[in-house]
């Protein structure tokens, strides 16, 4: 099964961190990614720009409307994700708990629908 691990955290903390601490976080993310690559659990990952760069797009009756994002207004915002493969939800949760962001933010684990593409 594949699972999407969505990392939510308080992004206002990041710019306040000293450079050394930021580097430490980045190194931890690097090590985590390397680890799940070697164990064969890694599928993909991306880091997003700040939530203030988000736009929300809707289409109603053929008219497109756009508002400043993000869609969900919360203190912790989506900052990135990992796509992993795991044998079941427990293994996915176990892997998700090792994502550095789980220590100060939250990681939502969502099973991915398996769609067979033609």
């Amino acid at each position: 099964m594949r699972y999407l691990c969505l990392i939510y955290s308080d992004e206002s903390q990041w710019p306040k961190m000293p450079k050394a601490e930021q580097d430490k976080w980045m190194a931890e993310y690097g090590a985590f990614t390397e680890g799940i690559k070697q164990s064969g659990h890694y599928v993909g990952s991306e880091r997003l720009e700040a939530a203030s760069t988000a736009s929300v797009v809707r289409q109603r009756n053929g008219k497109v409307s756009i508002t400043d994002g993000p869609f969900v207004e919360t203190k912790e915002t989506l900052g990135g994700f990992f796509m992993i493969t795991a044998k079941d939800l427990d293994e996915a949760i176990q892997l998700a708990s090792k994502i550095p962001g789980a220590r100060h933010g939250s990681v939502e684990v969502r099973p991915v629908m398996e769609i067979r593409r033609p």
Partner: protein, 116 residues
């Protein structure tokens, strides 16, 4: 530039959009080299939220934020700029009943390559 298009919607209303229409759009995006990855997620009822505090893992049932409209899937796309990304997002069939959040991707791998 890469953008993540997050599809949010009321799960019941999203069902009103035909699957084959979504698949056809997805296929068209892939054919045009626009789509790097796209996935539909299982219902938000299947979600678990994980936190780690002081070395202890806590798991709660349900998505990170409780709301009527939930994350239902995503498209990771390549576009020239934000306007092109918005144009792609506005044509994702669920955009007619839900909302699509467009977020630029931070090019960390590309930046690392340039630096290295």
């Amino acid at each position: 530039m890469k953008y993540l298009c997050l599809v949010y919607g009321d799960e019941h209303e999203l069902h009103s959009v035909p699957d084959r229409e979504c698949l056809a759009y997805d296929e068209a995006l892939r054919l045009g080299g626009r789509c790097l990855a796209s996935e539909a997620l299982e219902s938000s009822r299947t979600a678990a939220t994980v936190r780690m505090r002081n070395g202890k893992t806590s798991v709660t049932d349900g998505p990170f934020a409780e709301s009527k409209e939930q994350l239902a899937g995503f498209y990771l796309i390549e576009a020239r700029d934000l306007n092109e990304a918005i144009q792609v997002a506005s044509r994702i069939p669920p955009a007619r009943v839900g909302s699509v959040e467009v977020r630029p991707i931070r090019p960390i791998r590309e930046l690392a390559k340039q630096a290295g």
